[in-house]
Amino acid sequence: MLPANFTPAYLRQLELLKIRSRRAFLGSRQGGHVSPKRGHGIEFADYRKYELGDNPRHIDWGVYARSDRVYVKRFQEEQDLSVLVLLDDSASMDTPSGSGKWQRAKDIALSFAYIALMQQDRVCVSIPSSGDQPFSSGPRAIHRIAETLESATVGAQYDFLSSAQRAISRVGFPGVAIFISDLLMPLENTIAILDAMRARNLDITVVQLLGPEDREISEGAMVAVDSETGEQLEIVVDQRLREEYRALMDSFNARLVDYFHSHSIAYVLCDARQPLTEFVVENLIRTGLVV
């Protein structure tokens, strides 16, 4: 059963979309993405000298008439695409509890899965703390993925980095990887996860999901408790500190973006309060992640 906000109208909009990869990947079967493999297809690739055994139907008789040489036309094959959606299920994704960040992350992951499945692609929504998830194909698989996401909860204090690396290591085919996270972890951890994806020759897109509580800090005294490590920090926030925190957050994100640009990683920032339809249908198209 799909979530209630996956209305028929929203699903119809998703069916019109297609996940775009910036590179061509070999697929396992016929699909909707241009493959590096030459063969039967619609899109012309190049010419090759006729060799014994080639099908005479592929001979370009026009070239033969002009040059008196026998060439055959070659076409790019269209194959399916492997899509890995890696969902950050660390405790920070559901902090503060009930903020809607975690639910929004699951909705975005499900939206990607639906787009991919409707385009005959293979998709795997990986939630590290929920165990291994297989690649699925065919529209019917969306219900199983939806159930998995519905029952998924954020992990308590656990090592997300290792779990994520382990999940990435199980990817057998190159393809597209979408990493949905608030990225509120040490930068080296983010880089380690992305490096693991790059090592698998994946075309990476990072969706950073931040809630208003992540971007702003309220004034007053408090004992801040880290949702993942339990570390406590007594702090008295005033106006000046709020501005400093904002600057720190901008600087932190700027460093991330620099890294993404330098490693050809697509990046989308999502506000947890932004309506799902607006984010998926408008923002993702604008950024070119889906077409």
Binding site: S92, P96, G98, I217, G220, V236
Partner: protein, 620 residues
């Protein structure tokens, strides 16, 4: 006297140390609210914050833990309370005599006051039971404070004191140390050591003790040979002087009137010191009622109005019905027939059709029938008096005939006390009766009264008109009617009025009981219903609604309680000597340990369940 202390006072020294530790911990911790944030990654990069708070403003939890610490300290130091415990039975005399006027108040109110003072002086470890005259059993032992409430709610009861019996009952309770008696009766000359006796009598205070009482009452219904009702009031003086007593009589004619009796007649009598007199009261003939009320208003020879005990100046008499419902089929009303004056039966006007129905389920519930000037085409299945009426097998002559009594059956119950010799020529309708009926009075022209039995029911046929019932103004008809009813009902009908005495138990079907002033008591179903605690009238409703309501009135006559002059000597039985008090130590360390244990659990639970973060508060 309550004492307290510590078994290990040295342990108290640990409290200040622990207190200092707690304060230090809160100073370190600060009192800022805990908020769970996504990550403190960026917060740590902010400029350093002071760890110590400038002002010490601990949260609520600090005070909770402080209390915990103190309890723990007291528990460890072995806090205890020491006192003496007694098991006391307070015998509070609430008999009628304690209602005597005692200055502006009553003896009973003063006794209550003294009992309350006694109870307030008892140790809180003590257990007290309160016993009063009229109690069926000793109540539960409660704390002195609760016992004070019981004493405060006590009221005078219409019972005799019987203090010797109460004291014996009190000492028979298990482990009783002391029995304390508060009474208007002088203490016995010899008493057990653990019996406390406080007397508060009018004599001991030198107060006036003159009392005049109604010690009995009776009422005879109007007989055919006597005019109206005759009451006999027994008035007795327990005064030290002569008195002029006004006797007031009132009548209640219907249940609706019960709370507003109608005055009948008042008259005065002279009563000498200590005299007892039976006062006959001839009540007016037209004053037939369902209840009579008599009261006395004494004026003593020294001019004092009223006596010291007004509660025994009243008496009630109520009509006693046989309970038999009599169906009356007549073109005349009950009033025209004069039957309303007869309280022995419950007369009801009804129809031939109703009478024709069989008795019992689905039919009527009448026990007797009077058929007056109405021909019947059936023989009633219940005993019936046929006055100028016919039924199958019993016919009446068509036209009245003049005749003199010529013969009668000597000794027949229907003819008891009738003087036929004085009767001259009368007008009759001749009766032709069946074989199972016997002509018991005959005139020269035929039978005028017949009587007989059929199928276990008795029947009387009259060829002359005996209605309306006019009592002594028409002796022949009245006696003939009463004799006939008596013979038909197979009853003696000798007791027309009754004098009920308290306490009384009402049993049988009871729905509610109205006791005056709009107060209604609803008895527990299946339980005997003891009523009343005070004399006077009350209405018993056996079922929902007002049907079959019965008026009862109760009296309390007790010369012992009314006599405030004579000191009653009490002889107490020998009782076992017992220790008057026992030391009692209450160590509360165990309780403290229990409280601390639960408080610790609460504290841990509160610590383990983190507070819900406030939305929009902070992030990292």
């Amino acid at each position: 006297m309550l004492q307290w202390g510590f078994l290990y006072p040295v342990m108290l020294g640990a409290i200040p140390l622990a207190l200092a530790g707690l304060v230090y911990a809160y100073l370190r911790r600060g009192s800022a609210p805990r908020r769970i944030v996504s990550s403190v990654l960026l917060l740590k990069l902010l400029p350093r914050q002071p760890k110590y708070r400038r002002t010490f403003k601990p949260p609520t939890r600090f005070y909770f833990e402080l209390l915990l610490l103190l309890l723990l300290g007291f528990g460890a130091a072995g806090l205890y309370f020491r006192g003496t415990a007694q098991r006391v039975v307070v015998v509070l005399d609430s008999s009628l005599s304690t209602a005597a006027r005692f200055g502006d108040t009553t003896v009973h109110a003063e006794l209550r006051e003294r009992a309350a003072q006694y109870l307030s002086a008892l140790s809180s470890f003590s257990e007290v039971a309160v016993l009063q005259p009229g109690d069926s059993a000793l109540g539960a032992f409660v704390s002195p404070t609760e016992a004070q409430a019981l004493v405060a709610s006590s009221t005078v009861r219409y019972v005799e004191d019987r203090l010797a019996q109460l004291v014996t009952q009190a000492f028979s309770a298990p482990a009783v140390n002391v029995v304390a008696v508060f009474s208007d009766i002088e203490a016995p000359s010899t008493m057990p050591a653990n019996l406390r006796w406080q007397t508060l009598s009018l004599a001991s205070q030198g107060l006036r003790r003159d009392n005049i009482t109604i010690s009995d009452v009776s009422l005879q219904p109007p007989s055919p040979l006597a005019k109206g009702h005759t009451a006999q009031l027994r008035v007795r003086s327990f005064a030290e002087q002569a008195a002029e007593v006004r006797i007031v009589s009132e009548v209640v004619r219907s249940i609706k009137e019960v709370w507003r009796p109608v005055p009948l007649r008042n008259f005065d009598i002279e009563l000498k010191q200590g005299e007892e007199r039976i006062v006959p009261i001839e009540l007016p003939e037209a004053s037939a009622g369902i209840a009579y009320h008599f009261r006395i208003e004494p004026v003593l020879s020294d001019g004092t109005r009223g006596d010291v005990l007004p509660l025994d100046d009243s008496a009630w008499v109520t009509a006693q019905s046989t309970g038999t419902r009599v169906a009356v089929v007549s073109p005349r009303s009950l009033a025209e027939l004069g039957l309303e004056k007869l309280t022995l039966f419950d007369f009801e006007s009804t129809s031939i059709e109703e009478l024709k129905k069989p008795r019992g389920a689905g039919g009527h519930e009448f026990g007797l029938a009077i058929v007056d000037r109405t021909p019947l085409d059936f023989i009633p299945t219940i005993p019936t008096l046929l006055s100028l009426s016919s039924m199958p097998e019993l016919t009446l002559g068509e036209s009245p005939q003049q005749g003199s009594i010529s013969a009668w059956s000597e000794g027949h119950d229907v003819l008891s006390y009738l003087q036929f010799g004085a009767l001259g020529s009368i007008q009759i309708l001749r009766i032709t009766s069946p074989l199972w009926m016997e002509p018991i009075v005959e005139t020269t022209t035929g039978a005028v009264v017949v009587a007989g039995s059929k199928d276990n029911s008795r029947y009387v046929g009259l060829g002359l008109d005996i209605f309306p019932f006019r009592g002594s103004r028409d002796p022949f008809s009245s006696v003939l009617l009463l004799n006939s009813l008596k013979w038909l009902a197979r009853t003696t009908l000798t007791q027309g009025y009754r004098v009920l005495k308290t306490p009384m138990l009402l049993t049988g079907p009871l729905h509610r009981v109205e006791v005056g002033n709009g107060e209604v008591q609803e008895p527990v179903v299946g339980e005997p219903f003891a009523l009343p605690t005070r004399p006077g009238p009350f209405i018993v409703y056996p079922e929902e609604g007002d049907r079959n309501a019965t008026l009862l009135a109760v009296n309390f006559f007790s010369p012992g309680e009314s006599d405030l002059l004579t000191a009653t000597g009490i002889v107490l039985p020998t009782v076992e000597e017992r220790a008057e008090q026992m030391p009692s130590v209450s160590g509360i360390a165990g309780w403290l340990a229990l409280i601390v244990f639960f408080a610790l659990i609460l504290d841990v639970v509160r610590y383990l369940i983190p507070a819900r973060p406030r939305a929009g508060s902070v992030g990292a």
